[in-house]
Amino acid sequence: MADLVVQRPEGLYCPPGDFYIDPWRPVARAVITHAHSDHARFGHGHYLAAQQAEGVLRTRLGDIDLQTLAYGERIVHNGVDVSLHPAGHVLGSAQVRLEHAGAVWVASGDYKVAPDKTCTAFEPVKCDVFITESTFGLPIYRWCPDDEIFADINGWWGRNVVAGRASVLTCYSFGKAQRVLSGVDPSIGPIIVHGAVEPLNRAYRAAGVELPPTQMVVDVKDKADLKRALVICPPSAAASPWMRRFGADAQTAFASGWMQLRGARRRGGYDRGFVLSDHADWPGLLGAIGATGAQRIIVTHGSVPVMVRYLTEQGLQAEGFDTEYGGDVVEADVQAPDAA
């Protein structure tokens, strides 16, 4: 039986359906798993995405020809049965399920299996072939429960308030920022967000996700608030003159799965690193793969050779796809793109 998804220079392609999944070059028809800029690019003719992704997609890509599906809703395109299922990565993230001539394939996009208040929880989907990401595909990556991480962040912020220092927490503007907001304790002090973050907050709130009150730095009336604030911004802003207003003694932190490693923490030059990731950790990846029941696994972006070898040793048929998504390098996370 012919494969339902193959590699092409433009991206992952479904031959019978004649459409792409998260293509990196402009194509006529694209199914988009989520709105991060390496997966949702400009210039496609037609976009298909999950309903909940609409707000964030339009915030990032503007006026596009976008069709949406509720999670689990099925459509048939060129004889291929297409449906989207929650991936638990960010708001509106989806796994793409394809069914054709009796075969079921699922492309995961990016996913995490741990609960997250800002998006619908990951849902395992039975399939014959599972295309999985592998950003954190090494056994050294195992995440602590969210409440422990947020207790750490709140503690750090609270101590900085007492010391009269601003707490600048850098992270992806889309997804991670909102997850942090949903988890911190707003009674500690004011929350200031960078201009790259606020438009996405609006999209989240519009989609019904509850976030604490946030303000832009230009809205801050009392300068003393700057020293008590939790400041959320992308890493690029932390290296810019925008930071100066928070004072030379501002404490900086970075929230990312890469902060698991001491080397990355020290190289980043941040005062603190919080290990908070929107990707599955090693047990999460293996659990998700197992739950699909798939006998053939295709590994993309991340630790491809390691996962392929490991899964093969577990008796699965495993291979890799070359993709052009970020995620396999630390720097891709550090240089998170600014939202428009």
């Binding site: 195992r142 490693l261 001491r262 080397g263 190289r267 070898r309």
Partner: protein, 589 residues
């Protein structure tokens, strides 16, 4: 262990010196003295001998985590640190305990040595279960003997001084030898570090204790500006800079101690020096250089007969466990005295340099000690000309010491002068010791292999192997043909042009430059051998080094001393890199 792990995390998380001292102070206030004794030991560089090898620990961890060795290796490649890799892969299903650092070390870790392998394995496994990831990381480092943290000994001393109210210099003196591993840290030893004594005389517990070495700063200015920066030459004592082992001789109560700069007691390794020191009066401490001296007839008039032997000769001797007659005859050591720190039992470090020197000369007149000769010239430019003769004399350049300066502590930032009133310029960088070294030898060479670094350089290619041509390439085409052959993995033909590896270096570039080179290495990788990548030769580096010797251990037949990268020569085509013959020429210098 929890308290020590928290301190480690705090020290590791910040680059601010003040924040580190504060964290240390907090720790010393809260920790029981018995634990603090061990914390001081580990934080100031103390390393108990490895109890269990890291490879054994890695195997154990694989077993506990049920992962294959190849997967462990992949993890290690990403982490860049074995202990951290182990900490991250172990399952998180233990029963936490909170046992103090001293109890951990004395009752659990040290007794592991010598136990049957299976017993060690069982114990280490159960210890891991009691700890969280951060504590496991520390435990593994302590057991495996690779503990390091970003604090200097000076910082630990500063924090202890603030904590106890004892002068930092006194703490430093008491800490000499604290980490040599001959006596284990204990409650008593910690209390002795921070005990208050009113008088300035060495107390009985300080018997045998040397003084902290005063270390020199690099002088990086052209001699033309010396007059304006340093003042007249007549204010300065100028000596040759020798390349041996800096040492201190302590003679008190009829006993002799010889200390190296590494704070190691080395008395037994240098019987000649011990014998020499027996002739000194009690209550004497000398600072100087331990070196191998070749007695040769002099051809230039001077105070000394002979010349210093190359450092490699001293190195061979340090490596020996037992000193045979042959070794003693081949590499006789001597002590080149620089300074007098204690006389008649009195600490005279605060006397001016000139005064200490006069007393030193008087004390050692007529003995077999060598006293570092003073060079005198009327201008700095004349010194600069004289410095050019350093290599032929087997020295590294000049040492500059202000005649009014006191003997300080470590590599402090400001020197002291007892002569100036405290209100004015009592402390000034001019009163430091300055090393005015000759320019390093340099070679333009080609990057051929790269390996990822460790710690903060994990996953970044920062350790490089460099090669030179075995003969000058005829032209660009001939060099390019060699590069093409390397890329096609053809073995080099012995008689033809080829690149010969001769040195490794991993320092000298900025983080930005390392990132840039890392990117090029990833794009030009030919093959991976474990952690090492061979690259298509394309980059020329200017490599600097302090010395060069023949070596039968290296394929090139040459070993260089302290190699480091001076700059990347993007402007230099490959075929213009240096050759083995150029290295040979440096050997003759």
């Amino acid at each position: 262990m929890k308290r020590f792990a928290r301190l480690f995390a705090e020290l590791d998380a910040t680059t601010s010196t003040n924040a580190k001292v504060e964290a240390l102070q907090r720790y010393f206030e809260q920790a029981p003295a018995r634990d603090a004794a061990w914390a001081v030991y580990f934080l100031s560089g103390g390393k108990p001998r490895q109890v269990v090898s890291m490879s054994t620990l890695a195997m154990l961890a694989c077993e506990v985590a049920a992962i294959q060795p190849w997967l462990f290796d992949e993890c290690y490649q990403a982490v860049g640190d074995l202990a951290e890799t182990i900490a991250h892969i172990l399952p998180l299903d233990g029963e936490p305990s909170d046992i103090g650092l001293a109890q951990w070390v004395e009752e659990r870790l040290l007794p592991l040595r010598g136990l049957p392998e299976q017993e060690i394995a069982a114990r280490v496994k159960s210890y891991w279960r009691e700890l969280d990831a951060q504590e496991r990381f520390l435990l593994t480092k302590l057991v495996g003997g690779g503990f390091r943290v970003g604090v200097s000994k000076l910082l630990v001393q500063r924090a202890l001084a603030v904590h106890s109210g004892v002068d930092a210099k006194r703490v430093a003196q008491r800490m000499m030898g604290y980490t040599d591993g001959k006596v284990l840290p204990s409650l008593e030893r910690f209390e002795a570090l921070v005990a208050k004594h009113d008088d300035n005389a060495p107390s009985p517990q300080d018997e045998g204790q040397p003084y902290p070495f005063f270390l020199a700063h690099q002088l990086d200015a052209p001699p033309e500006v010396f007059a304006s920066k340093l003042g007249p030459v007549s204010d300065w004592q100028v000596e040759w800079k020798y390349d041996g082992i800096r040492g201190q001789i302590v003679k008190r109560a009829g006993k002799v101690w010889v200390w190296s700069r590494g704070e190691e007691l080395v008395t037994e390794r240098f019987p000649e020096i011990e014998a020499l020191a027996r002739t000194l009066p009690d209550g004497t401490v000398l600072d100087g250089e331990i070196m191998v001296w070749l007695d040769e007839p002099v051809d230039t008039p001077g105070a000394l007969i002979g010349r210093p032997a190359p450092f490699s000769l001293l190195q061979q001797r340090i490596g020996r466990k037992t000193l045979s007659k042959k070794v003693l005859a081949q590499a006789p050591v001597t002590f080149m005295a620089y300074d007098l720190l204690e006389q008649d039992g009195r600490d005279i470090r605060s006397l001016p340099q000139g005064e200490r020197r006069a007393r030193l000369e008087q004390l050692l007149a007529g003995t077999s000690f060598k006293v570092s000769p003073i060079e005198s010239h009327s201008t700095w430019l004349a010194f600069a000309a004289q410095r050019e003769k350093s290599r032929e004399r087997g020295v590294e350049g000049f040492m500059l010491k202000h005649l009014a300066s006191a003997y300080g502590t470590g590599r402090e930032k400001r020197g002291q002068s007892p002569n100036s009133p405290a209100s004015t310029l009592g402390s000034d960088p001019i009163f430091l010791w300055w090393k005015w070294k000759i320019e390093p030898m340099t070679i333009d060479c080609v990057l051929v292999y790269a390996q990822a670094g460790h710690g903060r350089r994990a996953s970044v290619y920062t350790d490089y192997t460099f090669a030179v041509w075995n003969r000058p390439p005829r032209d660009k085409h001939e060099a390019d043909a060699v590069v093409d052959a390397i890329e096609k993995r053809e073995p080099p033909r012995p008689d033809e042009l080829q690149l010969v590896a001769f040195a490794k270096a991993y320092s000298g570039l900025t983080d930005e430059e390392f990132r840039q080179v890392d990117g090029i290495i990833r794009k030009t990788t030919i093959e991976k051998f474990g952690p090492v990548r061979s690259v298509r030769p394309s980059l020329v580096f200017e490599l600097g080094f302090e010395g060069i010797n023949r070596s039968s251990r290296h394929k090139s037949g040459i070993a260089v001393r302290f190699p480091r990268m001076l700059r990347i020569r993007f402007d230099k085509p490959l075929h213009e890199a240096n050759t083995l013959q150029d290295l040979e020429a440096l050997l003759k210098l």
